[in-house]
């Protein structure tokens, strides 16, 4: 049965899940009105930390991913606290700068990071499961690769699902109401006693955590990382997912990441011009539906019916 599944489609599925996490990393600070483009930087930090922990120090993969997430969250707090003074585009560009600085550190710190060539032969998150299944004679060498891809997909699915559930569940809590209040009017929120610094740093570090976990999982999904995986383009992509999907709702980020990961694959028949078409879609969408596809109104309409 396994051989009917196509590795290519499973991999697109896995990338979609990673992109959903990255989109959530943009969505969460945006829910407090902060535009952060540091996603690529934190993703890279997570990927490198986990890859180095596993390949150099031989830590078990789950443990390495947790460490990568924890350290990146601390980095997020360190970057987040001073960045709080910045607003709007200032914050966007400063966080973009953070991403670029991190990337150049990966290139320059060759003894640890492997420089521009990066780190290869990173064990996959499916490694343990595949070994177990092979020992039990459930799979053999003919369907080993598909089984591995499928395991990666399932693990990513569970983790992504958890994050999405977490933020959906957060919707009716004190934290989320505080975030929305800050987004709508900072001064008014402060005057009614909301600690806006606390909630902003909280959102910022949550974003750093998700992006880093996405990065760590990315490293253990493709098994090869280099500084060019974590460029400006990656940060901008995550922003596009969130805004086109609908930045007012958690599921907007999920929807945007899913559709926009699949569209460039579906446009492959256009060859060189597929990204031209992709760019045109962005321009047209912003002219006709700048609030994105998924909005609170859609859910209200569905409930009425």
């Amino acid at each position: 049965m396994l051989s009917y599944l196509n590795s290519y489609y499973i991999q697109i599925g896995s990338f979609t899940l990673i992109n959903i996490m990255l989109a959530l990393g943009v969505y969460v600070p945006l829910s407090t009105g902060q535009l952060s483009l540091g996603g690529a930087g934190f993703m890279g930090l997570g990927a490198y930390l986990s890859a180095i922990a596993v390949t150099r120090f031989g830590l078990p993969i789950p443990f390495a991913i947790v460490i990568a997430g924890g350290v990146s969250t601390l980095a997020g707090i360190l970057v987040g606290v001073p960045s709080l003074r910045l607003k709007g585009v200032y914050l966007a560009i400063a966080t973009l700068g953070f991403g670029e600085v991190i990337r150049v550190i990966f290139i320059k710190w060759e003894t640890i990071t492997g420089g521009a060539t990066g780190i290869s032969a990173i064990p996959l998150i499916s490694a343990g499961t595949v070994r177990f299944l092979t020992e039990q004679n459930i799979i053999d060498s003919s369907n080993k690769n598909v089984a591995s891809d499928l395991t990666v997909f399932l693990i990513l699915f569970l983790i992504t699902g958890f994050f999405v559930w977490f933020f959906v569940a957060l919707k009716n809590t004190r934290i989320w109401r505080a975030n929305s209040a800050i987004r709508l009017d900072e001064t008014a929120s402060e005057s009614i006693g909301i600690n806006i610094h606390y909630y902003k740093v909280l959102a910022f570090s949550q974003s750093a955590f998700i992006s880093a976990i996405a990065g760590a999982l990315y490293a253990h999904t493709v098994s090869y990382i280099s500084p060019s995986d974590f460029t400006y383009h990656r940060a901008v992509e995550a922003l596009i997912f969130t805004v086109l999907g609908g930045s007012g709702h958690v599921l907007g980020a999920v929807f945007g990441a899913t559709v926009l990961t699949i569209i460039p694959e579906a446009l492959r028949f256009l060859k060189d011009y597929r990204y031209v078409a992709f760019g045109a879609i962005l321009v047209i969408m912003m002219a006709f539906k700048p609030e994105g596809i998924i909005t609170d109104n859609i859910f209200r309409k569905i409930r009425k019916k």
Binding site: K87, Y275, V276, G279
Partner: protein, 295 residues
């Protein structure tokens, strides 16, 4: 000492090009309150056009320069018509919409450039590329002087145009407050179109100058320059013309001295390191002013 002076000249030359690029970004930000993420791509098209006109058609350098400016200006017009104007028709759109829209345009332009010009670096040798002369101990490239002269002339013209001309005053009025400007009889739509087109022309001119300075052009320069432009206008203060010029020169000098006396690997990020430091001390940039928020 003469090495230091040579680096100083190189730094100011590079900085003058950065200033010109950042001026385009800062003008658009001033009038429209948006970051034009397509500025780098427009800049790259200006560079490619000039290179093609000069090396493929064999026409003189000044024709290439004008051609680069005109093509960039036309792209600016298209940007305004297709990506910016439709967004202004709605009230209360999110500030993210124009950001994404201009990112869309930059994706379109970068991929068209890849299809048209290829991904290789194209060398750009002009009749004045190899002329050097000595002033005492100091080696001077003629091309640096030409670049300095051209970019400062354009910058100064822009500056006085903004300060003294009627249309320049209209532009400043729109950037101060579009509604009041419209109320006082300024045709804001025309001013905005004019601003985007002239900012793009300036960007294209800067593109040609960069191609001259480095004797080559490739499709990576747009993105690199776009990011540097953002760093510069943050450094100088958003929407500030003086800030863009000062920030550009400062970045040009910083990059040149990092390469000369430090590690060239840090050239691309020195701008971001500077802005992070500046923003910690003065979140509005060097020339920026705090806007008081009324409750």
């Amino acid at each position: 000492m003469h090495l230091f002076i040579e680096q100083l000249i190189n730094g100011i030359t590079l900085g003058s090009i950065y200033s010109l690029t950042a001026l385009g970004l800062t003008l658009i930000f001033g009038v429209l309150d948006i970051l034009n993420m397509a500025h780098g791509a427009v800049f790259m098209f200006g560079a490619f056009t000039a290179v093609l006109i000069v090396s493929k058609l064999g026409l003189p350098l000044w024709v290439g320069f004008l051609g680069g400016c005109i093509v960039s200006g036309l792209l600016g017009y298209a940007l305004e018509m297709f990506a910016l104007r439709p967004l202004r028709r709605r009230k209360n759109t999110s500030p993210l919409a124009p950001l994404i829209s201009t990112i869309g345009v930059s994706i379109i332009l970068e991929n068209i450039a890849r299809a048209l010009f290829g991904s290789d670096t194209i060398s750009f040798r002009t009749s004045i590329s190899d002329i050097n002369f000595k002033l005492g101990e100091i080696d001077i490239n003629l091309i640096n002087l030409v670049i300095l002269a051209v970019s400062f002339t354009i910058t100064i013209l822009l500056y006085f145009w903004l300060k003294n001309s009627k249309s320049g005053r209209a532009l400043r009025a729109v950037s101060e407050n579009p509604d009041t400007a419209a109320f006082l009889g300024v045709n804001t739509s025309k001013v905005i179109t004019f601003t985007v087109v002239s900012a793009s022309c300036a960007g294209g001119a800067a593109g040609v100058l960069v191609a001259m300075a480095f004797n080559s052009v490739n499709n990576e320069i747009g993105l690199a320059m776009g990011l540097k432009g953002l760093a510069i206008i943050i450094l100088g203060g958003m929407g500030s013309v003086n800030g863009a010029v000062a920030g550009g020169i400062l970045l040009g000098l910083a990059e040149t001295f990092v390469v000369a006396y430090g590690d060239s690997g840090y050239k691309e990020i020195i701008g971001f390191i500077i802005i992070m430091a500046v923003l910690l001390i003065k979140p509005q940039g060097i020339f920026g002013t705090t806007q008081k928020v009324k409750v």
